[in-house]
Subunit: 252 residues, 2 copies
């Protein structure tokens, strides 16, 4: 049952504000969760500085070894927004003004002071690109080949992901089932390992926590096969209960 194609995506988070610690990234988690629903697995993420060469290098490596490449950040109007230039350089393409993007921006800014040089930057795309609708603000996202350039501001990114929902080919969504127990994971490590080994299509992740002075852990079983997922989940629950732990369905 593991012979089906696994569709993968990579994500490049672009921006000095993430690397400086000023801004806590929220796009990795939201892109990952959205991709799961599309049947696409987020395989790797890189956070890269606002630097043409570094972005272009990451683009060329990641687009080649994944079905899709997403970027967040660096498509705004200011001098540090260089994602379009970096992607165009990576692909050996010229940067052009996209007529539809220009029209969108003209309309959006008609009542907001009009187009200026900075705003017109947001109509620049690698030659041959398509637009991704932006329902939150004027400037669209951009698709070229298998690369999807999205905004960095999380609620605008969310709108662009929403616009793409159902348009990307994927495989079976990765399903998950969670169990929780007030067990130190170091006490049940062998149960987790043996249960995973006995269920070929499943992987089990263990996520410990410390609350109210007590340690516990949530165990997440993942599989693209609903029946095997349920078999594995039930086996893990039984093994934990046999070891003397109360198990909470859905996690603690």
């Amino acid at each position: 049952m593991n012979d089906q194609k696994i569709w993968t995506a990579a994500l490049i988070v672009i921006g000095d504000e993430i690397l400086s610690g000023r801004t806590q990234d929220k796009n990795i988690a939201q892109v990952a969760a959205w991709l799961n629903v599309q049947g696409i697995r987020l395989a790797e993420v890189r956070v890269v500085a606002d630097d043409m060469d570094l972005i272009a290098e990451a683009v060329n490596i990641l687009r080649a070894r994944n079905d899709y490449l997403f970027t967040t950040g660096g498509i705004g109007p200011t001098h540090d927004d260089i994602t379009v230039d970096a992607v165009a350089a990576a692909l050996g393409l010229a940067v052009t003004i996209h007529p539809e993007a220009r029209a969108i921006l003209e309309q959006y800014y008609a009542t907001r002071g009009g187009l200026n040089e900075g705003r017109l930057r947001m109509a620049r795309v690698p030659d041959g690109a398509e637009l991704i609708a932006n329902r939150m603000s004027g400037a669209p996202g951009i698709r070229i080949e298998n690369i999807y350039m999205m905004a960095g501001v999380p609620h605008i990114t969310a709108g662009m992901l929403d616009a793409l929902t159902g348009t990307l080919e994927g495989g079976a969504p990765l399903l998950s089932a969670t169990l929780g127990a007030w067990a130190p994971e170091s006490e049940i490590a062998s149960i987790l390992r043996d249960t995973e080994k006995a269920h070929d299509s499943c992987v089990i992740g263990s996520y410990p926590f410390f609350r109210n002075g007590t340690v516990g852990a949530n165990f997440v079983v993942r599989s693209t096969e609903p029946h095997e997922l349920e078999t594995c989940r039930a086996a893990l629950k039984a093994a934990l209960e046999e070891a003397g732990y109360a198990v909470t369905d859905g996690g603690i």
Copy 2:
């Protein structure tokens, strides 16, 4: 004034839970902020799955081109904790039980059910490694060459960073000053670009937001030179005010 060495670090965030979207990463921001105080710049981050070969590949690339490499995650007691094995493989080293780590774990678990196979996994280190103190729970972090392996649970990571404070050689800390204005960044893009160009040692980041129905942005000036930082900050403030915007020191 730019001839001083810039010390850099990379970070590898290890764990399927981040790539699945289940867990929102908090370590990138906290490691970045801590490094800034040490005078070390976080140059790049990768989020990598729980896979030996992928982790080892990232380790070897990033440790070579940065002064320091940090990892978070994958040093616990369960089967999916493979960071030590992957780093050892990357360095061509054997994995051994560290006697001091074993003693720490024996003491920690003496009143918690004793050492078992899973718990003893947390004493495994690449041959020749040193320990990083863990003030929150038993298992220590691990240093080998320029690689620092930290816990994945953010408050444990924080304790390990605290234990390392002041022990890593760095340069001048990157300083920053923030200004905020209720200005669409697309209206003041040329001011930002021209101000940055006029101040060699400074970079200006622009971080737009949308609140209460109005757009604004914070502008962060960064430099290792306190005097040039202040000159640039003052010039930016004057230019924004001349363009008709009220400017908030420290950001909005």
